[in-house]
Symmetry: C2
Subunit: 307 residues, 2 copies
């Protein structure tokens, strides 16, 4: 099975209570593709970078069987740059700098070799661009998963709803679900959002876990209680990459399998937050992933007894 | 097995986005004893009320095999009264009125018939009063569970820590755990708090579920995603009542059994919030409780497959 991922590849500069970084590699497609690469190959990336992008990171992607054929390089321009500062609780942050640069007029190109991919992950981007990617695929993928943010709800709600109507799975956080639906109860919000088109909805609650909805069914995956969250940047994208990667590797889009995919996504995200940026995602081994998944199993496992 | 519960019996006046109530029966011991009564009998209550207290409620308690022999009645005084208003998100509230009345100089009396109880639940009260109850039991119960609030951390921290050192299980919410420990990470907070004495710690996270800690082990129980939270008053006490009630009924204080107890507590709490005050807790039937517990089982259940 092959997976195509579209999203930003960027430089981030981060400040957390534990320290700060210079420009390091970030971006939705970066985290998604690294995370998914532990499950499926090839992972085909559609993105755009400037001539300043980190070539060592491109090499790392190739080592992990991630194709960058769909990554446009604009030699005389600069890569997308975001700088942010996390507050002490690590759950809230402020944006210090956003420089769109090459992302400002991103026109996604789908290489011929990506055509026919069975799985498509639309990382957070302008909803018009996400829609263009769907339209430029000759064959509708078996499953289209979309991530987005409140930013697009604020400035491009109509375009966002048009794209949402085209996808199978939407992944957003709890505040975004409330904003998009106008409902405070997440159960009610899920009904409103699934009526917009997606058959499946993932509501991410950060340190409080994630909910997966489908029709009248709901599944809850906890987040692992961690001693230390070092840097939450990319956790949502890493989750999405593990989710779609697991589904692609098993080629099973049933609700039962999606539950497992949510757990694998949560496991990958729990690694991501342990170090700055993509550091922890560069060389995971299968045994680590399996052991982390087992921690999720143990965390919620209880047996019922007959009274 | 017998269970003794100490805590307030009170009148509450509530305002929520869904409506408001006149004075209705509330208080920690009220919710705890009603909830526990679905698991164990007798439930022995130690409390104090004024001459104004609701006699119909006392009758209801007797019907549910809850003993009020330890409930002092001060005929010429008034019962504890609390009035509060919930905000739209139902997770935060403001106190409008607090009248301690009979609770101001509460000196708990343990009837002879309560002596020898195997289980003790200390509902939220002044920590000195909670400690007095422990001291007035001739035989140390098999398990002592304590609930408390940030209020006592603010005004009586030393006395609170002295009582905490005497109990087996402490039940507090996430913000209280952070305040008591000085640690933001709940995993770190749990270590600090268990070092104060309790072998087990429950951290309640409201709509985000609850964590149970013991040594290096942790269990997570989700809250049920509900369409509507009508009135959260008493949910924490109802949780505690279901928790200790289940443990008393099974007479098993192992970590494995406490996991089940957390689920039963969560199930009872999920009923509590469906109507104002104690309304929904007055006449549950076993089939409803079993079905609700099954919803918790289904919510987190997933199967792992060999890849």
């Amino acid at each position: 099975m092959s997976l195509t991922v579209v999203g930003s590849m960027a430089f981030d500069a981060l400040e957390t209570p534990f320290g700060k970084t210079d420009k390091i590699v970030g971006g939705a497609a970066t985290y998604i593709s690294l995370s998914a690469s532990y499950f499926v190959e090839p992972v085909n990336v559609v993105s755009v970078v400037g001539g300043d992008f980190d070539q060592d990171h491109i090499k790392l992607m190739h080592q992990r069987n991630i194709s960058t054929e769909g990554v446009q390089v604009k030699e005389n321009e600069k890569s997308f740059f975001w700088s942010g500062r996390y507050f002490n609780d690590m759950n809230s942050r402020e944006t210090l700098v956003t420089e769109l640069n090459v992302l400002g007029d991103f026109d996604p190109i789908i290489p011929e070799s990506y055509q026919g991919c069975e799985y498509l992950m639309l990382g957070n981007l302008a909803p018009q661009v996400q829609r263009t990617v769907i339209e430029r695929l000759n064959v509708r993928p078996k499953l289209v998963v979309m991530d987005t943010m409140n930013f697009w709800m604020d400035i491009a709600l109509d375009a966002l709803k048009e794209t949402i109507a085209l996808v199978d799975v939407l992944s957003i956080n709890d505040e975004e679900a409330r904003q998009l639906s106008g409902e405070y109860s997440l159960v009610k919000a899920a009904k409103v959002i699934m009526a917009m088109g997606p058959k499946f909805l993932i509501i991410k609650k950060g340190e409080h876990g994630a909910l997966l909805f489908n029709e009248d069914k709901v599944f809850f995956a906890p987040a692992l209680p961690l001693e230390e969250v070092f840097d939450p940047t990319g956790a949502g994208d890493t989750f999405a990459g593990g989710f779609i990667g697991y589904i692609a590797s098993t080629n099973d889009t049933s609700f039962e399998n999606m539950k497992r995919a949510v757990i694998y996504g949560s496991a990958l995200a729990s690694f991501c937050v342990e170090k700055f940026g993509t550091e922890r995602l560069k060389n995971l081994i299968q045994e680590e992933i399996d052991a982390r998944v087992q921690q999720f199993v143990n965390l919620v496992k209880f047996t019922t007894i007959e009274q």
